[in-house]
Subunit: 177 residues, 2 copies
């Protein structure tokens, strides 16, 4: 399964800070960084205004970088309830932005991402940042943390995508028999 | 504070079933029903596809009925976590649809809605449906339940709006002094 050239947009979702990245699969396990950034919305602004800003920023990234697929961190109900709800609203808006452009979305749990990148589902932020910096051949660590997370999610998808594609092929084959 | 003619869209949010309504404020406490319906999305479909359908349906209602304001039920973290998350994604998409059209959104808790309609924050579904049927002068009860809920949320806003407007005026006046 050759996925060279596959362009993945990674999203670490949030309403106050949302990490965005774009990477491209190279030969073998090689991955080329294309873009990384963070969208912020002021917590003093109305929810409508904040979702509108997120939607526009993410839509612009999709239009500019034309990813083949979006990989997003799956959110959990843990932690502050109001923050989780806000993040869930933002996720809805970003999944919609992808759907409107016919871009498929894959979700990964934080431990799936950690495992894919570092081999350890419980790796800490420092380890993850060091791995991502090395994998992408960056001269320094990506900042802020949300940006590094967004890159990790995109890399995770690049490495999982061949397996997903192979599974889909086998499922289709089995269904056709 | 005269709000005669104010057009309110009521939304009882959900991903599987989403109740929608439009009402218009008449003289005094009179309220005229304009439209009521339910948008459904199949639970077998992908999240992207479901959010896209909700977004388009709600957008069409907004474009067709041109509400001055949207009133929505505030969701809680109680109940099945996956359902709550799905509803939160749908809320994000619907708040965005309103924001893109410059329509303000107000949220009300279920007990605020019940209290406004029936005088009792713990009224049951049967009491609420009977009250809504009477308030709107309908010949029979609106169906299904989500449709009745969407009407109740819109009526709640019609009756609360004069108070909200008065409070905003007083706040603005105080700030100007």
């Amino acid at each position: 399964m050759n996925l060279e050239g596959l362009r993945v947009m990674g999203i670490d979702p949030g309403l106050t800070r949302c990490g965005l990245s774009v990477v491209q699969a190279g030969r073998g396990r090689q991955i080329i960084p294309v873009a990384v950034g963070v969208v912020r919305t002021p917590s003093t602004a109305e929810l409508s205004e904040r979702l509108l800003r997120i939607s526009r920023a993410v839509g612009e990234w999709m239009d500019d970088y034309k990813p083949d697929v979006v990989a997003m961190e799956r959110i959990f109900e843990r932690g502050n309830v109001s923050t989780v709800m806000h993040t869930a609203h933002a996720v809805g808006v970003m999944v919609l932005a992808a759907a409107e452009r016919d871009i498929p979305v894959h979700m990964y749990t934080p431990s799936e991402v950690k495992k894919a990148i570092s081999g350890n589902g419980r790796a800490d932020k420092k380890q993850m940042t060091a791995m991502i910096t090395r994998i992408l051949g960056l001269s320094e660590a990506p900042k802020p943390a949300d940006a590094a997370d967004a890159l990790a999610i995109a890399v995770c998808h690049c490495w999982r995508a061949p397996l997903i594609a192979r599974t889909n092929q086998l499922t289709a084959k089995a269904a056709a028999q």
